[in-house]
Amino acid sequence: MAVLRLAPLLAALLAVAAAGILYSSTAIAPAQTLRILLAGVGLYTGHRTWPAADALIIWQLRVPRVAAAALVGGALAVAGALYQAVLRNPLADPYVIGTAAGAQLGMIAALLLPVQVALLGFGTLQVFAFITASLTVLVVYGLARTGGRTPIVTLLLAGFVLSSFLISASTFLMMISNRIEQAMQWTMGSLDVSEMTQLTVVGPVILFLVAGSVLLARPLDVMMLGEEQAGHLGIHVERLKLVAVVVATLLTALAVTLAGIVAFVGLVAPHAIRLIYGPGHRLLLPSSALVGATFVVGADLISRVALAPVPIPLSIVTAVIGAPLFLHLLRRSKRTYSV
């Protein structure tokens, strides 16, 4: 039943991903692209009539870019859905509450370190991003929480103030560094930096966390009744909150290390799904991941096409769609609203 409902979302993702791979500034005929793709996975055994450079472009540039976009979108969407459930706040999103800015600061700090340590592809980058993102969540949560709830206004204010501070700190670090260009690219939200090697490590972890998050679906549903009532129904509320926030923050940190700050994905995807499939997390979490992935792959495509050959930063595209939705939700939350 649930699988049937996920199928159209998966189909949409595959369609947009195909468009993302087929389109590019260097023209390679679609049929040629298809042959190169099939050959890459061993499904095309005919003559390899294409130049080696074309295969390189497809497999080293386009496929990783689209894969990274999908992973970033899926990660941010699930992170948003988890934050919204745990903070019981429809506007909680990795960008809005400052987690993304926190991850970015950690990442830039790691970039500036004279030594880079990496174990199995996981390096200082991811670790620093996760640590600073976690600290950000702790501070925002501590500031915003009053009387067992996280009111929308205080959460937004705390997130805004902390984000501004963290972004200033990131800018300062970039100013005094000699790797300003690399860091700049990241802060604009860009998938240019994604490399296949990074993907093969971060990708499986993101997929694992997204799939694992479904285990939290049932208790998260019960959390919608309020923390105290969830406790009465046998939910370990504090444990659940900790696990969900750690998963959401890890997903955010990994997404930021792939693409920098991409705004509003965590809002757009879960809210779109709630409109269609309702509030149950068993469907909400996996379908948000698919919609988020489709959203970012599509936004990346638009960012490349809109003013071609000049690329627009990815985050600008997602913000054009996400910001009006954010304002709409904010307006609606003045009346009664619950996720």
């Binding site: 009744l225 009465h232 046998g234 939910i235």
Partner: protein, 228 residues
């Protein structure tokens, strides 16, 4: 079936939260079957005591069936889905509260009285020996007040369910409950059968001019304000 009454701020809700395990008592223990709640696991407590909160977010978009199924949380494992027994308990709870016909509706689309019954159904699906309610009649009209309290006393008889409710309305408490406990300033002032409690003078804690008189139909004592 015990009604907890007392003026605002007398500690009714605090006592309810301690009894349900939400708050830890500063001193003493709440025991269920001889074991302190603080020594029982969360799920174990949730299989012993169910709580109907005074307020359930009226804008919840879950269907009534999904909401009531949440009452089975203390029995369902992380990966497991609802068993036949869970479904039976959900169906029985919907039937007992007479909201079977609303099972497919969204909670947010129900009237206040229907929402109150759905919240009660969720607690009944927990299939606990004890049920705590925080002012269950407060937003209900006379018809639904009567139906809800009748339902509770029926469950009390049929399932030997222990019912404790914080009640605002002294007359409803006197009419439907076996026992009344009066709280004042965080202390228990009086407890016993309604007529005895109403005669005892413990109601002075409300600091209002009251007269008690016998119900013309059933003879039970009722309380009226006396405007001077």
């Amino acid at each position: 079936m015990l009604a907890l009454v007392g003026p605002n701020g007398s500690g009714k809700t605090t006592l309810l939260r301690i009894l349900s395990g939400s708050l830890r008592p500063d001193a003493g223990d709440v025991t269920a079957g001889g074991t302190a709640l603080t020594h029982l696991g969360r799920r174990h407590v949730a299989r012993t005591i169910a709580v109907v909160p005074q307020h359930t977010d009226p804008s919840l978009l879950f269907s009534v069936a999904d909401l009531v199924a949440m009452g089975r949380s203390p029995y369902v494992s992380l990966l497991g889905s609802l068993t036949a027994e869970d479904r039976r308990a959900v169906a029985a709870a919907l039937r007992a509260t007479e909201i079977e016909h609303l099972a497919g509706k969204r909670f947010a689309d129900l009237s206040g009285g229907e929402q109150q019954r759905a919240a009660l159904a969720t607690a009944l699906a927990q299939a606990t020996p004890f049920l705590l309610l925080d002012e269950p009649t407060v937003h209900l009209d006379l018809h639904h007040q009567h139906r809800l309290l009748e339902l509770l006393s029926r469950l009390r008889q049929e399932r030997d369910l222990g019912v404790l409710a914080v009640m605002h309305d002294l007359n409803l408490a006197a009419l439907y409950f076996d026992h009344i406990a009066v709280l004042g300033g965080g202390r228990l002032l009086e407890a016993g059968p309604p007529d005895a409690v109403l005669r005892s003078g413990a109601l002075r804690v409300f600091d209002a001019p009251l007269v008690t008189l016998a119900h013309p139909e059933n003879g039970r004592l009722q309380v009226l304000l006396d405007r001077d």
